[in-house]
Assembly symmetry: C2
Homo-oligomer: 495 residues x 2
């Protein structure tokens, strides 16, 4: 059908497409667009609904509906009688604003200062691809088994775990009960469900702790080296960060007390120093607690992979020695999967409401369905069975990686440790860990360099090598690739 | 069996329970506890492993293992020859700390100032029980149907959605694609998947926006009344909040520009003012955008329940008019369920990395499985079908509530609005909405008072009445209960 001649001159109306349906909406959109662009001027009179309906071969009801919509929006005015005009006030407010002092309108607002700061954090916390030696890839043999999936389907089908309304930002009570039971038994943590806040994992536990325990300008101790996500959190809080070196017994407490005794909180990894791996010795633990008592300070105990210990028994948690001063952080990312984004903070009862409030402020709490699933998984005993199973597999893989490194790359010094999902290998002098990490990315292996985790003095050059998600063959192959990368750098350095 | 006489005097060892298993661990725990409590002193010599094993009827290997554990922890020292002593350095560090200046050890650290602030936020953001007139209770007829559950099981069983490693903090690409498609069509939002950040819902969208767009001390506009979670977010950021009154056309822009033109950002609810319900008129929208252009300011458009419109067509999103200056926030809480904790922010491309970094800092991103499920639910068309279905049900329930209120409680003035999951009812003069809300809680109905959402000048007294999750019968019954509560207050006021 040939397009009809329009009695009125509104070019935007030519865009109406009868094949698309929603003609009333198309008409309203076209008129609105013509008005906001100034093609139709304030006060200009529109054709009657009958005339426009005829022109466009639309029903009169369609046109009336579009006019009413635009009248409701304030784009059109219905005058006495039946005529309809473009609203006279429409651009007046905008014009009034133009008359005000201020810079001329700019095509783009300036970027806030935070944009580059948070952009840098995005880089710092980027996930690695799922290739060796990335940490925490629960695939294949170490993935949760069929029980997890079947139990999940069953739990989600129940009324309790079906999609529902807002819930307690502290987290699901059944899950908090299961976690409290587990932590009392496995980690000697003194707690009940009332002490537990469900988090999105350790990162969120650190974020919440810094928010509740610190004010901007407060001093916080962090280990050197430390988890980069912690340093980002403390800097974001506006805390003054005092980096405390570590030695074979963990955090060098004497140096921290000598240099900076008045910290408001100490953020520590006592069971397995991140990333080095040594536990904090018992004398240091007692001294750290004594310092906290004297100075009215808090201790944040990040116990991120204590479940995965391959020799001896784990130290009990520091929280069990003084549950009034210690905030204890745990995560399901290491023993179940990072994609669940679930972990927990155990906090003194006087702080639970503050932690719950801070959690609510950031997003009202974690989704509920998966909390029900993990609670059931723990209660029915699958959780601890799963941990025992993967601990055995991880121990074997770790041994394969250590043996292969020792035979293929004897020049690397392996940091002694008997826990966790990664090992630390120190590079021979002169090799830059960041450069090697970049080069390795192109050969299909994923490394984390240690030097960015250090404050810079003394500079360490080493690599974090995760082994958890990979078979013996994958690990052996990856060590060969690492060998080639290192060879290239060694030759380059010698030349 | 009678307890054997112990050759050595360590009372804690009496607590070892042979019925419990884990004897090596029990022994280590008992010795450690005796040492940390001072029952065993530094330098004190322990019995040989043979003697202790005999005394306690344990195998020698068990005792050796416990000693080795405690030596590793630094609690015991192995001397030359075979004797083992309590480590001499054990309490020295603690004692050294005691010698330092500082307050005497206190039984409890002082509460941080934030504790009461976040405690108050916990109260402000408390969820209501699932009874009328709570908002957003997706139960019964309005719950997601069997498709949701079956699709969920199918999607989670696939390799892609199985538990896995860390992921992009910006969110799952497939979900961001589905959301971008939907928003372009349904809300005229100009975006691609690269502009979208998956959030935990509107609360997190507001939190992220304030973190990225504002620095402490910056001025932000918020409507008056406004969503309490927004005010908490802005105060937490350290922003200076300028409250802008609303009238029948929404935000009173002229007053805001006259009183406080230099705001860094305006937080607005253009499609359905929270909690009043009027849309922001087109002239005001254009003027708001013009103001933002002149002042280099950002607009945060909270479009929290735009899908639920019962008359006419919705205004298109403001974001579509200037996607360089507007951060658009949406949520799945209203149309699917709050317990999913999923929503989205649409941000100018220059800000996506900053938003992703801020999201990573707070917890590394949302869990992945449910993102896969929603992506599939949207792609397969169930999402829009579900919205159409619940919109019809909500429209009926809303009508029931309005009719019942008009006949039973004609003294309440109902705020005109044609969108959303709640209606606003103004109380007759002299009735205090907070007191009525408290009293109503004891009669099995849940209300939100409006006055706490206002800056206080002028004071409004009214109630938010959610209708979404309740049948006609439940709503009618709840209005009767409300009637009784109001009657009591009216009589009390008259006396």
């Amino acid at each position: 059908m040939a397009r009809r001649h329009l009695e009125i001159d509104i070019p935007a109306l030519g865009a109406i497409d009868r094949g698309q349906g929603g003609l009333g909406r198309q008409l309203a959109d076209a008129l609105r667009s013509a008005i906001t662009k100034g093609e139709l001027k304030a006060g200009e009179r529109l054709p009657s609904t009958r005339v426009l309906a005829d022109s466009l071969s639309l029903s009169r009801g369609t046109v009336t509906g579009a006019y009413e919509q635009l009248i409701a929006e304030g784009c059109l005015d219905a005058k006495a009688g039946s005529s309809t005009c473009v609203a006279s006030g429409l651009r007046e407010s905008a014009i009034a604003v133009r008359g005000l002092p201020g810079k001329p309108a700019s095509p783009m607002p300036s970027l806030p200062a935070s944009a580059s700061r948070y952009g840098a954090i995005a880089d710092r916390l980027t996930q690695l691809p799922s290739v060796p030696f990335s940490v925490a890839v629960p695939e294949g043999e170490v993935a949760m088994d069929e029980h997890w999936r079947r139990l999940g389907n069953r739990v989600r089908a129940s009324q309790a775990a079906a999609p529902s309304g807002y819930a307690d930002p502290q987290g699901l009570l059944a899950l908090r009960e299961a976690i409290a039971d587990y932590l009392r038994r496995a980690r000697a943590v003194r707690c009940g469900p009332e002490n537990i806040i469900i988090t999105e994992g350790t990162q969120q536990g650190l974020y919440l702790s810094s928010k509740v325990l610190l004010a901007p300008g407060d001093v916080a101790w962090a280990e050197d080296p430390a988890y980069p996500g912690l340093i980002s959190v403390l800097e974001d809080r506006g805390a003054r960060v005092h980096r405390v070196p570590v030695d074979t017994q963990g955090l060098d407490l004497a140096s921290a007390i000598a240099a900076c005794p008045d910290a408001k909180a100490a953020f520590v990894t006592p069971s397995h120093q991140y990333p080095m791996g040594m536990p904090l010795s018992m004398p240091r633990r007692l001294a750290l607690l004594e310092w906290a008592r004297r100075h009215g300070s808090w201790i944040v105990e990040d116990d991120y992979d204590s479940e995965l210990r391959y020799a001896g028994q784990p130290f009990p948690a520091m929280q069990g020695l003084d549950s009034d001063r210690v905030v204890y952080l745990g995560t399901f990312s290491k023993v179940l999967a990072p994609s669940l984004r679930l972990g927990y903070a155990v906090v003194p009862e006087r702080l639970t409401k503050a932690f719950a409030g801070a959690r609510a402020l950031m997003g009202r709490g974690s989704p509920s369905a998966e909390q029900h699933v993990i609670a059931a998984y723990m209660k029915e005993g699958y959780f601890e069975t799963h941990i025992r199973r993967i601990r055995g597999i991880y121990a074997e893989r770790r041994q394969v990686l250590m043996d292969t490194l020792r035979s293929e790359l004897p020049e690397l010094r392996i940091q002694p440790a008997d826990q966790g999902m990664h090992i630390v290998a120190w590079l021979p002098e002169g090799l830059n860990d960041v450069a090697i990490t970049s080069a390795a990315a192109n050969t299909g292996i994923a490394l984390r360099a240690l030097s960015p985790m250090c404050s810079g003095n003394p500079q360490l050059s080493g690599l974090m090598l995760g082994f958890g998600g990979f078979s013996a063959g994958q690990l052996q192959d990856a060590v060969k690739r690492l060998h080639r990368v290192l060879n290239e750098f060694t030759h380059r350095t010698r030349r």
